[in-house]
Symmetry: D2
Subunit: 333 residues, 4 copies
């Protein structure tokens, strides 16, 4: 961390500040210039609140050199994290295919989609029971009943299940859910993140619509700081000025996140694009870019899906795609 | 609402769709063109889930003509809403000045700031007890103890108090808090909004960092749909590519929101800009643009504030500003 | 095109408007509702200025159903455009590899890079002679001398060359340049586009930093409306809130543009990411997503490049990448 | 400027780099830490190309402490610039009202609007003769004929005129135009900026749709570096995710630009909002925020304006607004 002091900072105040940094366990290197003094702070600065420094009279600006995330940081944890979920592995060369309907709608639907995606090689089943919707008048999911249907599908197929949580008070319902998803709109719901940090569930953390990668990693850090290190990061599209696609998928997030962090990174091309036709090219591109997995919406009857059906593939389209994904992964190995 | 059908839509399916719309209580006007058929839907379309329509085989696109928000919509509620909070009124020409420290830090601090802003004409006292911070390692607020200190200040000064909630489970702590603030990061925490809709508290709803005005009004609608109509909308800056200011204050939101909705609209220039020097010009501008109130950070000792001090005014600066705001309001009356 | 009229629009004015539309050669379908009248306009509406309509007293809103671009539109030109540049083909399954230094710096540099990328299978040589830089004090390119050096490399290697133009007055210098690039900042320099439309050169049109795909296609339309249909569209990253990467590469632009238009689409992963390490995964991803080509920066001595060297590959890295790109293309065939 | 070196940088290379900085006339302060070495560079660093440094093997990151703009920088020119245009002054307390039609359409139109806005106290007349339009099929302006009509209005009313240029080759047509406007889309048309820098005209430089203030000032620097210091900066709205307004007006740009630069700053609320109803509140807000002037569209017959009429005021609305603007300016004096 570097603190640039104001040109006219009085020496007594500079000395006080340096003493305070040393009290925090930091080494301080002072560089006195003609116009300004620069303090280089060496040590664990992740607990220094940058905004507290910036308000000081004598400080012009403060810049971090090291990242403010620690548990999620590859620098302190060079090896890829591998997470085991049921029989599936993800991370460090293990690729996970997650598939299923956007919303759970009925027992028939879930079981049919589950068996079909399993046949196509999916490792986990996804399905939304609690649905965050912009309008209070839109379908909000089957809730507890939806979780029940997913658990039934888990029992029958043996596939681990992934479902989104919107409220920490619902945690008891998720006891047998294998992977708990935090949606884009809740990426900075810090109260929820803290509660999930106290569980030992695998958390699938989606990037917020207008959040950058540092913020995503800081949200992972909220969970990890409470003791839960089983986190899968998920790129699902960001908000841009483009209107033809629902969001803009940021595939450079894959190699960038893997450079910054040891956590597995997957991509959800269905929500990112909002258009079924764009899902296969984006899924293949994500695999080519080195993703650790894909989460794809599959529906037995896309044109009547209750929610987000526009972006769902049929089981057959999914099977074809899964096949090509495997071939792409051969190329980049 | 207009549904544009695909060029080759079979007549039988078109007839089915028209019948379904009529079942929903809508009138349907059909316009048959050479290339495509257009359905004009007349009636209360706020409960039609636009995404469900768009996935239908025969539908090319669906566009709303009327807004998807209803309780918040000025069309159905032409008169300005006026909210009474203690002795303060806001809306329809009643202007409310809310002031106080970003974070509650100590009894001395809260009481000193409270009495000084009251002397300068503030109508309500704000103070953060629960603080949403990007990093888990940054100061998270005094929590319950902070609420206690605010209530003490309320008792002494008689001023209504405003404080942010981050978790519906904390509601019992807010029983005597007059205005409950929902922060930008929780604007789409729908579970929290629903719980607040079940209270009769005034809710100060801040616009999310990357949310548009329709989404802000839909979030107000979440609260109102549960029965609570006491909502103050708050512009607090949006995320843009500008880096000199923390966020970009969108003052056109004031007249635009007042055109769309009957709810009072206030502005928080402190968080929007992040720079104390910019707070007075932006506060005056907000008043000139017709805001119903201002929420401004004031600190007794800005350079040592624990949080966001960089953007706080001193009580004297606040008193000067409040005076000019009153004069601006005279001009635009 | 649909025009929604205001609820209280007088019949006489409606009749006038309908008559005017008919004069423009359009068919008009009128749908009279309880609250409003909707006009459906059928025919070639690309020449209707939507803003002129919206200002009319009786018009509430106007929405296009068909796209405002015509020459670039796949609907009116279903087959992929194939462009021949020297011996290279691009479009409809023909993939073009363009490589070379960001800036032309010296004869040695250009010739060395040219022969090395040619050996690695590159089809065309790129090199910047005129450089748009944010600061007037930064290196602005070798200009005419740079073009000379590229032409020398063309003569020796036989490779077609690609270089950026910033001023239509420089066109005489580009007489032997095979592909003229329009940079992101000039995507809406309409005066430049019109002049390029009067040439028969292939134009490589880069997407602007904050422009959407419709605007990109409208800029292609500016060139095509003057008679030049040899256009290659290029995704090169858009501005978002992400700061780890220079820009955010939008790979969904590839399938989306190919859906909307018949023009070839290539990707420049070097400028999009600004980081050499991210170039290979993004290049592979672009190939997997169906791009018609790649433009990649290669430098003989990346750490001393005069401009944008941070994002350049070495010839060896490029050769390895080109090999994997070919394999990816095999998979998606 | 601070250069942070990589942890393992070899001493010989560090010494070379330091020697090179000294050759550039900079003082170098070296701070050696346990993990990394930091170089503080003191002196005129505006001519150092930051990208050239960042690519060096041994450099981790480079950060400017001082701004990269020099002629436009208030630090080197503390007093407000005042520009004289005909009889009008702008800057340092002198406020300029610029008004007129979006597009010049006819002699009658220009003369009528000119005399009416003059009567309402406007200092200058604006009118577009060359119009940048997204579509090649939309009205492109009356061009040379439009300039002629503006000059006629200038002759009759004595008001200085403001009109937009799109092509440096058109400069001879602008010989008697008092203020040459550079539109948002051309803010980074560096070739045009350089040509305007060689004239002695006052240049009204509009902020680009997705450009930040540093980029705006760097574009001003392009003009100033060629010798022309008569520049008016203009905020005209930026692109955000909001859709109710055409763009989002950034009024915090006013005090921020005035902090950073000595150049006058005006606001164009007409283009920023795109809605006539929002123009008065935003114009008042801009005045309250300390703008040095306003550029407002006025039309004799808004509902039939050829271009952007939706955002134009009638002369009467303009006169009422001008009156309130004067009162606001009294308050903030």
């Amino acid at each position: 961390m570097i603190a640039v002091l104001k040109p006219n900072a009085p020496q007594a105040q500079i000395d006080n500040l340096i003493a305070w940094f040393k009290d925090q366990g930091l080494n301080v290197h002072v560089s006195v210039g003609d116009y300004q003094t620069i303090l280089g702070l060496i040590g664990d600065t992740s607990k220094i609140d940058i905004e507290l420094l910036e308000v000081l009279d004598i400080v012009e600006s403060v810049k971090r050199i090291t990242e403010p995330f620690k548990n999620a940081n590859r620098k302190f944890h060079p090896d890829d994290t591998v997470i085991k979920i049921g029989n599936a592995l993800i991370g460090n060369g293990h690729f996970a295919m997650i598939a299923g309907p956007c919303s759970v709608e009925s027992e028939n639907q879930v079981l049919e989609v589950a068996t079909k995606v399993q046949a196509a090689g999916a490792d986990m089943l996804r399905g939304g029971a609690f649905k965050p919707r912009t309008s209070p008048y839109d379908f909000q999911g089957m809730k507890a009943e939806g979780i029940e249907l997913l658990l039934k599908a888990k029992k029958i197929t043996g596939m681990p299940i992934v479902s989104e949580i919107m409220n920490a008070n619902h945690l008891p319902l998720f006891e047998e859910v294998d992977v708990i998803q935090v949606g884009a709109r809740n990426m900075q719901n810090f109260e929820l993140l803290k509660e999930l940090g106290k569980t030992n569930k695998t958390i699938l953390l989606k990037r917020g619509l207008a959040n950058n990668l540092k913020e995503l990693l800081m949200s992972a850090e909220y969970i990890m700081a409470e003791g839960n290190e089983n986190i899968i990061l998920c790129e699902r599209g960001i908000r841009t000025f483009e209107t033809y696609t629902r969001n803009t998928i940021d595939l450079s997030a894959i190699p960038m996140l893997k450079e910054l962090s040891h956590l597995p990174v997957i991509v959800d091309p269905s929500h990112a694009t909002g258009i079924a036709k764009l899902v296969p090219p984006m899924a293949l591109a994500a695999a080519a870019a080195g993703a650790d997995g894909l989460m794809i919406e599959v529906h037995n009857d896309p044109i009547h899906a209750l929610c987000d059906g526009m972006q769902s593939l049929t089981p057959q389209q999914y099977a074809d795609l899964a096949d090509k994904v495997r071939k792409i992964r051969e190329v980049i190995k």
